[in-house]
Amino acid sequence: MTAQDTIRARARELLENGEVTTFIGWESGRFENQTTPLVITDASDADKLVCNEYCVNTLAKYARDVVTRGKVGMVVRGCDSRGIVRLINDQVINREDVYLIGVGCAGVRDRKTGELLKKCAECRHGDPVICDEMAGDAAGRPQPSERFKEVHEVELMTQPERSRYFEGVYAKCIRCYACRDVCPCCTCRECFVDQRRENWVGKQNNVAENRFYSLTRVMHIADRCIECGECERACPMGLPLMKLNRKVIKDLNDLFGEFESSMTLDEEPGKLITYDLVDCEEFM
């Protein structure tokens, strides 16, 4: 009984006895090794569900759209489950709205090259952090050693080099907002980029406005980022977005103490919405 068969059986069962109204998983796409997210409502589609090492999408954020239809069943690995925790802690969904079937994850592969994705090579939590039941045993992958390697590389560059490097990065951005729409931390009803009255960021696509958008988004998800790396994967232009997110996470850990967001439902509030009288002082 592979994990996939267990999931199919459980999905059919859950849908039949009405415990969940919809079930979210993956289905195979048109091309070889291609998968795409699938949301099924009747049990007969359960056999379309697949769960292999090519399921590249993180499913957490779909819970938000589907939860209005009733209880949602979902397959969760490490990144999905942390995404769900993030949605719950941000009051987007409630814990009883979702029924989570956990699956150990050994990392997913690119359908063309077959190599482990970058986000999975850097993944620190392959196994689900919360789930109602486990389909198959945990993969128990060791945590990668160098979490902030990329950040160190950029920090070693001189200031003009960094400036040119990031100007090059922002020149590529086409402002399609895939990074925002795939991120489980980005759940605002109306994003600041759409607020024409405040006109935070202009609609023109140039380095300055792209930088404004990127810096703001990094500051918005700073202490809640679950490091799933989906933004980097979804970006059509291949921007190194995790270099920015991880930089802020590294600073938060160095300055205000080790902290990994979205690991438990009762986690204490993020570092940027709390304070400590004895924070180190550098502005005196």
Binding site: T36, L38, N57, I174, Y177, R180, D194, R233, P236, M237
Partner: protein
């Protein structure tokens, strides 16, 4: 006329004259797009089509339209920008050429000529290279585009293995090919037929879509969509834009920039009402526009089968599967 592949690079170097920008498909910083040909660029003609479409040359993502200011006695002065320059795009593919047909229809016909687009279009000469092999996501043949033929290209280079079959198709093309004399020889060669693994039948799809406004297929499709703008910005035929301005106290620039029907703000009205509030409406609208609305208005499909959205969609939402599903209904 025949052009051997070895002569391609010398021809290109010869073409990069001072008065004209030559754009070639190449990798810029990891992203394949049409970029200005200068000493350092290495054109990549093997790759089937570039991630960023060539529409940027005719319809840039951000285009300054005009500058306005108030002079001393309070009356407005308006000066139009014309940033169009003589451009040659070398190595554009037939599917992208077909997308230019769609863009021409939108910007130049039906009683309104967009002069920014028109200026750019006049000054653009297109040298199209046919495809010998197709990527796994290419399905242009199913959208009645011949991988080796582009009727509206100025010069057509049909890929015939190690030589190109040069056909000048427009007066501008003849002038262009005339200048290539030292690099081309006489003769005609049979172009390689390009096999495509991906094929869909558009048979009756357009009509069926008419009656499918409330069909559950849209719900299953739109649930998985992230509503990001990737597919619309990578699609060679998407042409929606928004106009905004950069203001200073008494002067400013109005510019035009790409916009995507996938964003909720795109249809957000002043009073707060949004005719397409949810993902379902927006995804349905995009596919209907691609496959039905455009057909009804201009008589041609707005999807040219380049496969960019199939390739780059973060959640692998596939227009070809939609076409198959619609065809399979009823």
């Amino acid at each position: 006329m025949i052009l051997t592949k070895q002569n391609l690079m010398p021809l290109l170097r010869n073409l990069t004259g001072a008065e004209r920008d030559v754009f070639v498909p190449t990798q810029v910083d990891g992203v394949s797009k049409f970029a200005l040909m200068d000493k350092g660029t290495v054109p990549d003609f093997e790759q089937v089509n570039t991630t960023m479409p060539p529409k940027d040359l005719l319809f840039p993502q951000t285009q300054k339209m005009y500058h306005f200011d108030v002079d001393a006695n309070g009356s407005y002065r308006i000066h139009e920008y014309d940033e169009s320059r003589e451009q040659l795009v070398f190595g554009i593919r037939p599917c992208d050429m077909r997308s230019i047909v769609c863009l021409d229809e939108v910007f130049l016909t039906k009683g309104f000529v967009d002069e920014f687009y028109a200026n750019a279009r006049e000054k653009l000469t297109c040298v199209c290279i046919g495809c010998a092999s197709a990527a796994e996501t290419c399905f242009c043949a199913s959208m009645d585009v011949d991988p080796q033929l582009a009727p509206n290209a100025d010069v057509m280079l049909q890929d015939c293995g190690d030589v190109y079959n040069v056909i000048a198709q427009t007066p501008k093309g003849e002038v262009e090919v005339a200048a290539w004399a030292p690099f081309v020889e006489e003769g005609v060669v049979e172009p390689v037929t390009c096999e495509q693994s991906l094929a869909v039948s558009m048979e009756g799809v357009v009509d069926k879509l008419e009656g499918m406004y409330d069909h559950p297929i849209w719900d299953n499709l739109s649930i998985k969509c992230l509503n990001c703008g990737t597919c619309t910005y990578l699609c060679p035929t998407c042409h929606c834009f928004d106009i905004s301005q950069d203001m200073r106290r008494k002067d400013g620039v109005r510019f035009r920039c790409w916009d995507s029907c996938m964003f909720s703000e795109y249809t957000m009205m002043a009073g707060g009402h949004n005719p397409r509030p949810e993902k379902l409406e927006r995804v349905r609208n995009r596919f209907m526009h691609k496959l039905n609305f455009f057909e009804r208005r201009y008589g041609m499909s707005l999807c040219v089968g380049c496969g960019r959205c199939v390739e780059k969609c973060p959640v692998a939402l596939d227009i070809t599967r939609l076409i198959d599903d619609v065809a399979a209904i009823g």
